[in-house]
């Protein structure tokens, strides 16, 4: 008997568990691929926000005794480079997980290879529904922000409930981003889908969307959906104002930052409706908010090459929100960190108190419901600021 026990003891001492890549006794290595050059470079600030937050967490002792090393690489919004970066992160940098990589097409490009290598693809920075929905085929993938499709649906339901005799014109970016929103809108309108009297797509290579808005105005609609990205949304407001058109405007969340809304003609902007789930550091609403104060103090102390403009940049805040969730996930995964335990933690989230999202939001996931952030509020723009109204509503698919 003693001999058997001794034999077992000897063999189990030799049978050390296979080391998990990206995890040592005192370090966790995470990776991401984001645009730092090219047209989408401002979105890359998400990664810089994450980097600052992790430095802050490390300063306070890290996660269960381990410091987080965060490697993020520039892909210039080119999926080929995103693939190259991701392979480099897995093979050369040996990261534990890839998280918050940016862009629908970039994440689509790397999804197969990450799942094939059984590396977690966490908190994808894209609102395409597939990242939360197709978990049966891609069990190592999980999304983060409310899907664009659900956002559109919320606008549709609002119109049905609150606007009599709606005649809807839609300006949308002619790719899945805009089409997801449009599709969701039609679903939300249900039997009233025929109230869409005109819809015009624009290509991101356009110089200006005034021709499209001019066309939409000619349809005599009284509601305008602006499913446009960044400068195109700004140009749309400009065109609406110049044409003397006064529809009820709905503007999609991605283009609703206070900094953007403040620079368009206010006669067009006033009364616009959007959704919100994050805290916009440029909004007067959160001027004295603890979460935003924390955000700014972290960015000031730990941000690299940041300036005063960045303290009001919502991309940085979005990064910190995701980083908070990532730290939360690592804590739940426990001291024995493996890729599987991280994935389990990510699909069993019940996160309250993320200081960078709206109060009351609970980030909740299950293995078959992989949309962490699904609660939003509606908000209306007036007097140079957004004013949320109503309670938290659900933007959860299905």
């Amino acid at each position: 008997m003693c001999a058997i026990v001794a034999a077992v003891a000897v063999t189990s001492a030799d049978a050390r568990p296979v080391a998990t890549p990206g995890v040592t006794a005192d370090e966790i290595h995470l990776g991401s691929s984001v645009p730092l050059s090219g047209e989408a470079a401002i979105a890359g600030n998400v990664a810089r926000g994450i980097e600052a937050y992790f430095k802050y967490v490390n300063d306070k002792g890290g996660v269960l005794g381990r410091k987080i090393t965060f490697t993020y690489l520039d892909d210039g919004y080119d999926p080929g480079r995103a693939v190259n970066n991701t392979i480099r992160l897995i093979q050369q940098e040996q990261v534990l997980a890839v998280f918050s990589s940016l862009g629908t097409s970039n994440n689509l490009a790397v999804r197969k290879l990450l799942n094939d290598a059984k590396v977690p693809q966490l908190y994808v920075s894209s609102g395409a529904t597939t990242f939360g929905r197709d978990y049966k085929k891609y069990p190592w993938t999980i999304g983060y922000i409310p899907p664009y499709s659900e956002e559109g649906e919320l606008y549709g339901r609002y119109v049905v409930k609150n606007i009599k005799k709606p005649k809807i014109a839609v300006l949308y970016q002619n790719d899945d981003y805009g089409r997801d929103l449009l599709g969701g809108l039609k679903r939300g309108l249900g039997s009233k889908a025929k109230s869409i009297v005109a819809s015009v797509g624009y290509d991101p290579t356009s110089a200006d969307v005034q021709p499209q808005v001019t066309q939409l105005k000619a349809s005599k609609a009284n509601v305008l959906m602006v499913f446009a990205f960044g400068k195109f949304s700004l140009q749309a407001f400009n065109a609406v104002s110049r044409l003397g058109w006064k529809p009820q405007i709905f503007v999609n969340d991605v283009s609703s930052a206070s900094a953007l809304m403040a620079i368009v003609p206010q006669n067009a902007a006033n009364g616009s409706i959007s959704i919100v789930f994050g805290k916009d550091p440029a909004s007067p609403l959160w001027r004295n908010d603890k979460g935003v104060r924390l955000f700014q103090s972290i960015l000031r102390k730990y941000g690299s090459s940041v300036n005063s403009r960045d303290l009001k940049d919502g991309y940085f805040t979005a990064g910190m929100a995701t980083a908070y969730t990532m730290v939360d996930t690592l804590k739940r995964a426990g001291k024995t960190l493996t890729r599987q335990s991280v994935m389990n933690a990510a699909t069993h989230l019940n996160e309250k108190g993320n200081p960078f999202v709206l109060p009351g939001i609970v980030l909740h996931t299950t293995p078959s419901s992989r949309f962490p952030l699904t609660q939003v509020r509606l908000q209306r723009w007036s007097g140079n600021a957004w004013h949320p109204f109503g309670k938290l509503i659900s933007a959860k698919p299905g």
Partner: protein, 340 residues
């Protein structure tokens, strides 16, 4: 010209040996990086025949790469009558289809000279990414097409990266041989004659149209093969995988490398890859200069580094690295093209 044969063959053999042996000494990921360099090299080979030899500037060969890449994607994903085609077999088909597109471009190109041709081909580079967006049912739009991950065939016991490396550089060496054979013979002499003086060439009976169009077709074929390999390596295509700037990078690689030097072309291919993907390394070098501390993560810094490097290199080496190498080493270098 005969006496130059042995040094060139020796150079070719040396290159082949280095290519074969290298993976043993480098990391797996490095092998993938060199595979991508190889794809740029193949595209540059084709471009050098077009620009260096027949003297036609093309700022649009990225579009031919895209044609090759999309051909592979469509054949692998949509298949033919529902029958998906194995990625390897799509490579020559992609090359041929791109080559035909090149011939089609080459015909109207005959009527355009110098700068106008450059700008029209640039227009092709700008316009092509719009096509997958328009015909998105077939070509995937911005969502793109997802291919099966590349895997070594016949159960070969090697990593995917090494497999892509050998596949790419194997094809590169074969295509290098083809290019060498082309420019050594009648075709090369005709193209050189055209580049040096179209009037003289035509007067001595060289059919301008045939050879100039042919040069376009060849360069497009090479680019198509490169694009096909790139699609296989990434297992994904969408318009952003072959952006407008790719055509520009190819010309950058050609100019910096030196239009008719083998060493230069390899260098040019390496430079294109390096400047895009190792901006932090370059920033590190630059930061050794006094009073400079660049953060490569700050938006805008990678572009500034790339732009500054291009300007400085072209000011210092107007004939590219190939020109420098030729000045330093004279006739000892293994040169692809002999200059009479």
């Amino acid at each position: 010209m005969r006496s130059k044969l042995w040094p060139e063959l020796a150079g070719f053999a040396a290159l082949a040996l280095v290519v074969a042996a290298l993976p043993r000494f480098i990391s797996d990921f490095r092998a993938r990086e060199l595979a991508i360099v190889g794809m740029y090299f193949i595209a540059l080979l084709g471009l050098s025949i077009l620009t260096g030899y027949s003297g036609q500037i093309s700022l649009g060969n990225g579009a031919f790469m895209a044609i090759g890449g999309y051909t592979t994607a469509v054949l692998s994903v949509n298949g033919v009558y529902g029958h998906q085609i194995r990625d390897l077999w799509t490579i020559p088909i992609a090359g041929v289809i791109a080559g035909v597109a090149g011939l089609l471009v080459g015909v109207p190109a005959l009527r355009l000279s110098g700068v106008y041709l450059a700008l029209i081909t640039f227009g092709i580079a700008v316009s092509f990414p719009q096509l997958p967006k328009k015909f998105d049912h077939f070509l995937g739009g911005t969502t793109g097409k997802i291919l099966n991950l590349a895997k070594p065939p016949f159960g070969l016991a090697t990593t995917t990266n090494n497999w892509m490396y050998y596949l790419t550089w194997g094809i590169a060496l074969v295509l290098l041989g083809v290019a060498w054979w082309l420019v050594r013979g009648k075709t090369g002499r005709a193209l050189k004659a055209i580049r040096d003086s179209e009037v003289a060439a035509a007067s001595s009976g060289v059919s301008l149209a045939t050879y100039k169009t042919f040069a376009f077709g060849i360069s497009a074929f090479y680019a198509g093969v490169a694009g096909s390999l790139y699609a296989i390596a990434n297992a994904y295509v969408n318009p952003d995988v072959f952006p407008i700037i790719l055509s520009v990078y190819l010309v950058v690689g050609l100019a910096v490398g030196g239009v008719d030097s083998l060493v230069g072309l390899i260098f040019g291919a390496g430079l294109i890859y390096f400047l895009q993907n190792h901006a932090d390394t370059v920033a590190g070098w630059i930061n050794h200069l006094p009073a400079l501390s660049l953060d490569p993560k700050q938006p805008g810094i990678p572009s500034m580094i790339f732009g500054a490097v291009l300007i400085v290199v072209m000011l210092l080496l107007p004939t590219g690295v190939g020109g420098l190498v030729r000045r330093l080493f004279g006739s000892l270098t293994s040169r692809l093209y002999t200059r009479s």
